[in-house]
Every structure is written in structure tokens, then in C-alpha cells.
Symmetry: C2
Subunit: 132 residues, 2 copies
Amino acid sequence: MKTRRSFLQKLGLAGAGALVVQSAQAEEDRGRSFMIHQVYFWLKDPQNDMKSFMKGCENLIKIDSIQKAYIGVPAATERREVVDHSFHVSLTVHFKSIEDHNIYQFHEDHTKFVANHEDKWKKVQVYDSKID
Amino acid sequence: MKTRRSFLQKLGLAGAGALVVQSAQAEEDRGRSFMIHQVYFWLKDPQNDMKSFMKGCENLIKIDSIQKAYIGVPAATERREVVDHSFHVSLTVHFKSIEDHNIYQFHEDHTKFVANHEDKWKKVQVYDSKID
């Protein structure tokens, strides 16, 4: 923390608040907005399909218009009523813009991913956030 | 990278590409796992409470054990059945470990945030993902 604080002091930003402090770490949101496309998948048969599904996700996130992508599984955090640990795979995708998100949505590799894997999931839930 | 590649090899996923390629851009997952604590808030009265709630979030993400944090609002992506645009605020928080997440959960600033703002939300939904 000391280094970051000192860096912010140099920039004259010390005490300017959380968003600035956090932004200093995140190269993608330096002074411009981006979006997070967050997807949660619930599989029908995770025991048998997890490996091929994960591989599908790894191929999916090769799509060029993606800025960053993370493939996740439920973390072993405390069971609390507000936390849903029931999903099997999470896909966190950062795009520089909604246009880049749309390129991804209509990309043939995305279409292929859905065609090849949609039989494996029983539910998919998406949340799209704009980050300023 | 070597550790992750070796982990992927164990899973039979070596050569899968994308995860490695995308991850290479993200400083936080160079060779080690981290977690994403994803929170969605639905406010009772967003018109009146949005500003103070956002300010509360900005204070919240000053907690030291946070690696990165993004405060978001619904992105203007296409309305599709699988996309939930109904939340008012999203909070995406990256932690290096579950221990750092727990420090955050029990931090007095987190307790204060809940005490000061819980009357403003009608629903909160959390998903915790482990990213390897």
C-alpha cells in the first residue's frame, strides 16, 4: 500500500477517493469506461461435462474483441444466504465497449460455442455492467 | 506461468491457449490464483439513493485487502432473456485469496457500509469465483 500511496501522492491524487485508488491498479479504466460481461453457467452433469465445457470456454475467450477474460468456479467462501455457490462455471469478460461486446456475441466462435455446449447447461445467467 | 501450465497439463488442458493468452494480460493472475467477489444490488429507491449508495461503495472499496474493485451500473447491451439488467449497482472485487476476502468481510468499514446502506437495498446477490 505504501508504494501505491506514494505514487498517488506524486500524482496529487492522495485522498481523492477509492475509485481513483483502485483505478491506479487497473490499466483498462484509466480515464475511460469499459464493460464487464458476467456469465454464470449451471451444468446438467458437471461431473462428466466439466472438462469439455471448460475447454469450450477457453476457446471462446480467444475472440479478438475481448480485453480480458477469467474462467472461474465457485470459491470456497463462507455459506451465506446472499451468496449463490450453486453455479458450476463463471465467465468474466471485459470489453472496451458495447461494440466490442457485440462483435463477440455475433462472432462465429461464439455461435459455435453455444451450438457445441448448450446441451450441457440447464441454466445460464448474464449480468452486463458498465464501469466508469 | 509455469505453475499454471503444469496445472493445466495435469488437467489435460495444456495447449488450450486462451486462458493462458488472456491471463497474460492480467497482472493479478500471473502464476497464481485469485478470486472475484461479485455483488449485485437492487435498490428500493434508486432515484433518491443512487448517489449516496455509490459514494458508500467508493468508500467500501478503500479496504486494504482488496486487490482491485470496479463499481458498475447496468450496461446498455441488448435485452435478452438470459441477461438480467434489473440490478442498480454492481460491485466487482478481486482478492488475492479467500483470506483477503474474509478480512474485507469482517472489516469495520464493511460493517459500517452495511449498517449505513442496507436500508437502501431490497435485494443483494453475491457470486464468489475462484480463478486459476
